[in-house]
């Protein structure tokens, strides 16, 4: 084989392996992914790469225990199993709730982006469980206190602490405190 042909073969191999790496991550278009996957049963190098990519990812995530014995056990057991021949699976629909919720959220997300994009430099609102009532209504004290509406503080704090909690009912009263040292 000439040098040129060698180079051409290597380049094709490198490209195949690049596609394999992308396919491993689920980042390849359908046609190319199907092509790569169809080659896998005959391509020992690709199978080797697949194994290495799995191990590298697991090792980086702290999950690299050596299971070569387990792997061998599983493959030996598989070899002894009667080959499964099952009909092509029907694509079952997702349960209605999840499908509807997922679709609704996606639709809402894109709507939000197009209607009210958040500019990078502009400070936008931070999330808070928006209060549905002014808590001071429950407390009954001098009208001057109305300026110190505590509900937004509670909401902002609750949003951090609990994520999904509503605002608690509060007993609030005016007091006299000495100022802090300056």
């Amino acid at each position: 084989m000439t040098m040129q042909a060698n180079y051409a073969v290597s380049e094709a191999d490198a490209e195949q392996e690049l596609w394999l790496s992308a396919m491993f991550d689920g980042e390849l278009d359908d046609n190319t992914a199907t092509h790569v996957m169809n080659r896998m049963p005959r391509d020992r190098q690709a199978q080797q790469r697949w194994r290495e990519y799995s191990l590298i990812g697991d090792a980086m995530r702290g999950c690299a225990a050596d299971h070569s014995r387990l792997e061998k056990r599983i493959k030996d057991a598989l070899a002894a199993e009667p080959t499964v021949l099952a009909p092509v699976a029907k694509q079952h629909r997702q349960p209605v709730y999840w499908a509807a919720a997922a679709a609704a959220v996606v639709a809402i997300t894109w709507t939000v982006l197009s209607v009210a994009p958040v500019a990078v430099d502009e400070p936008g609102p931070l999330a808070s469980n928006a209060p549905t009532s002014t808590l001071l209504e429950h407390s009954g004290f001098a009208e001057g206190v109305a300026q110190n509406d505590v509900a937004p503080y509670l909401s902002a704090h609750q949003d951090y602490a609990f994520a999904v909690a509503g605002d608690p009912d509060m007993n609030i009263r005016p007091v006299s405190m000495t100022e802090g040292a300056q």
Binding site: W50, S54, D66, H67, V88, A89
Partner: protein
């Protein structure tokens, strides 16, 4: 084609009689499954038994796998149920406080920890693999290191990595591939695999 689509295609191939396709799924998920099962069961040999049984059960039940869930989720549920049945049969469980409290001898605290406990030989091999991978990652050029870390540790998509690194998706694809190749080159002598051996 997403990762879940890849898994589904492999399942489909396995359903059509291609056992090697199922072996690819074994390779991809065996360590993760082992780790999760070891949260439930202390004895490493029992964890291996359960993991093997899980994969075989999954293979036999391939016709029942519905494409509406991720393969790993389905595999994991089979694993959890298998482990629970196993433990129920042997009347063992995770160390409860009562188990601990009634022991007369002082046992080391590690007994309460359920993680990848292995034989001394394989434990050494595991550590060596982990060290080799981490050293290889550390010695990568910065752009390759960032790309592989964002992918494997942070689980970002190529698009997200491209945005994060300010480069095209094609560059991300190439960097991740080159990072993997560089790490694998250092790993291969330890795995004792060659092109000629069937894995």
């Amino acid at each position: 084609m997403s990762e879940q689509d890849i898994d589904r295609q492999l399942v489909e191939k396995a359903r059509q009689g291609d056992k090697r396709a199922f072996e690819l799924l074994v390779e991809k998920y065996q360590r993760r499954l082992y780790r999760l099962l070891s949260r439930m069961v202390r004895d490493p040999e029992e964890v291996e038994d359960i993991a093997q049984e899980t994969f075989i059960k999954a293979y036999r039940a391939l016709s029942n796998f519905r494409g509406d869930a991720a393969f790993y989720t389905w595999l994991y549920r089979i694993g959890v149920n298998t482990a629970k049945n196993y433990l129920a049969m042997r009347k063992k469980s995770m160390p409860t406080i009562s188990d601990h409290a009634m022991n007369d001898e002082d046992e080391p605290d590690e007994r309460l920890i359920a993680h990848d406990i292995a034989t001394p030989e394989s434990e050494l091999q595991s550590k060596q693999i982990a060290i080799a991978v981490n050293e290889a990652v550390e010695s990568l050029p910065e752009e390759l290191r960032s790309a592989i870390i964002l992918r494997e540790m942070e689980g970002l998509s190529y698009e997200e990595i491209a945005e994060s690194m300010g480069c095209p998706i094609g560059t991300v694809r190439s960097r991740i591939f080159r990072a993997r190749e560089a790490i694998a080159t250092k790993l291969r002598p330890m795995l004792d695999t060659s092109e000629d051996k069937r894995w």
